[in-house]
Amino acid sequence: MTEAKERPLKKVMIIVAKASIEDVYAGLIMANGAVMEGIEAKLFFTFFGLDAITKKQMNKLHTGVVGNPGMRMPGGLPFPTLLGVIPGVEAGVSAMMKKQMDALDVPPVDEFLDMITAGGGEIYACKMAADMFKLTKDDLSDHVKAIITVGDLYAMSGGDGTQIIFT
């Protein structure tokens, strides 16, 4: 039997590819949690995940209320999908979610990026997705360090104790 030696986690590369509140926050919370533990963290936003670092969109994220089996009414009854198609429902549910998170000291996206970068975390945008959505560095949050290729991402992922996490 070989003796398994525990190796501490030293760096996380977190990839966010979707724009819903829960997808974006999963990545942000994991990155922030990493820097708070002294673990190096780099966030890479791609495809619809770019909304989270696009100045115009970042604080207007929504959660999906249609086709989301985890969505429930206050009280626990299932949330009817047909209700989700009514204009304003998705915005209302999203606003409620943000309010509940704020009560737990989970900040809005721009402030969350402030917190992560204050701890030394780095924010990157995917070049291919930025090209596709016709976004330039000026459209993105000032916290975005660079627009990089997937090759650049892998080049940054070297070193013992690194994990790549795709949320």
């Binding site: 708070m36 002294g38 737990l104 900040p107 917190m115 204050a118 030394g120």
Partner: protein, 103 residues
């Protein structure tokens, strides 16, 4: 759980070094704890520690966001004061439990 002698005082700590009784805490003890991690406590550090102790006693949940808005220091400053553990280390030196918070 173990006993540890810090600043001439024998106190009970958990296996991560957090005090079990917050009343055992004093400034010299905090300084000695921080020294073990290579951190020299300044007045600014103590301001953060006192703030955490106060909020914890009031039953509030502790987050770096809250400390960052306390007016003592911002989040960047907090990371500089307690490198590698802005909330984890500060809570330890403040003699309170490790915060069960993700932010």
């Amino acid at each position: 759980m173990a006993e540890k002698t810090l600043a001439g005082k024998t106190v009970e700590v958990n296996d991560e070094g957090y005090l079990l009784n917050r009343d055992d805490w004093d400034k010299d003890l905090a300084a000695e704890m921080a020294k073990e991690d290579g951190i020299e406590l300044t007045d600014k550090h103590y301001e953060v520690l006192e703030y955490l102790r106060e909020k914890e006693a009031a039953g509030e949940s502790l987050t770096i966001r809250k400390v960052g808005k306390s007016g003592i220091t911002d989040i960047k400053g907090l990371y500089q004061l307690f490198p590698g553990g802005p909330l984890k280390l500060s809570s330890k030196y403040a003699g309170i439990a490790k915060p069960a918070s993700c932010v």
